[in-house]
């Protein structure tokens, strides 16, 4: 399963691109994570294990009771910016496709306050967001 580190700012901030949020680990603290997992409850539980700068998922068609983006609220409760890309723009389960083609479809309040916008390419938005951050924790 793909896990790729991409440096996106001169301040040492990086994006972790991953096929599955289950790959998130202690080394990812302070990272912007772009995962190709759905944004449901189980996915958010993984994302909450480590304090991330921001995290993205696939909206999985949103679906019943908005289960595909239910994790965004859980991350909001911890003040972590989180969003999803549309399942029609990026292949769920494919981190590379999410990074290259994903268009943001849903955001939590923390992400909106951080400057993310719906309809933006997740890649462009993550790069822009990284520039607003200070250097990562040592």
């Amino acid at each position: 399963m793909l896990v790729e580190k991409v440096y996106v700012s001169g301040k040492g901030r990086f994006v972790m691109i991953m096929d599955s949020i289950t790959s998130v680990g202690a080394n990812d603290e302070g990272a912007i994570v772009v995962s190709a997992s759905h944004g449901g409850v189980s996915a958010a539980e993984y994302a909450l294990k480590i304090p991330l700068a921001a995290v993205f998922f696939n909206d999985a068609g949103v679906g019943k009771d908005e289960a595909g983006i239910a994790g965004l609220k859980m991350l909001q409760e911890k003040g972590i910016p989180a969003g999803a890309v549309s399942h029609e723009t990026a292949q769920i389960g494919d981190g590379k496709d999410t990074w290259e083609f994903g268009i943001i479809s849903n955001l939590n309040n923390a992400a909106r306050e951080a400057g993310f916008q719906v309809q933006e390419k997740v890649r462009d938005a993550a790069v822009k967001f990284a520039d607003t951050l200070s250097s990562p924790p040592a």
């Binding site: 399963m1 096929d19 599955s20 289950t22 190709a36 997992s37 759905h38 449901g40 409850v41 189980s42 996915a43 539980e45 696939n58 999985a60 068609g61 949103v62 679906g63 019943k64 009771d65 289960a67 595909g68 239910a70 994790g71 399942h87 029609e88 723009t89 990026a90 292949q91 769920i92 389960g93 494919d94 981190g95 496709d97 083609f101």
Partner: protein, 131 residues
């Protein structure tokens, strides 16, 4: 994380899990109902253990049928696999999948086991393990 065995018939072990990442060697031959999407990443993980049958959530199917891509991957390994519709059951919630999931897609191996599209997943599995 949720992983729970369900007793519903004498001829098969049924295991519910919120993420396919919870599978282990002990699940060999089991019928697994996971609340993961049925994409490439899920297919890779599911293919690590020779399961009897495995179900996912179709995640709205989406771009290039990515939400059900695992079904083809598992077919190549001879494993029966299917999905339930993302509007019938909550992705990430295995109990909702089990209670309310309606089968939306199946690979050939699953069709040959008697699963049918449009059927409630629980009814189909109970029938299989009761035979």
């Amino acid at each position: 994380m949720i992983k729970k065995e369900i007793q519903c018939g004498p001829n098969g072990r049924v295991v519910l899990m919120d993420s396919i990442a919870a599978i282990s060697k002990e699940d060999e031959g089991a019928i697994v109902v996971s609340a993961s999407h049925g994409g490439k990443a899920a297919g890779e993980v599911a293919g690590r253990v020779p399961l009897g049958v495995v179900f996912f959530n179709d995640a709205g199917v989406g771009k290039n049928n990515a939400g059900i891509f695992a079904l083809t991957m598992l077919e190549e390994k001879g494993i029966a696999a299917g999905t339930v519709s993302h509007v019938s059951a909550r992705i990430g919630d295995p109990f909702d999948m089990w209670e309310n999931g309606i089968i939306s897609h199946l690979n050939h191996k699953a069709l040959s086991k008697g699963f049918k599209i449009g059927e409630r997943i629980q009814d189909a599995i109970v029938r299989l393990v009761s035979e």
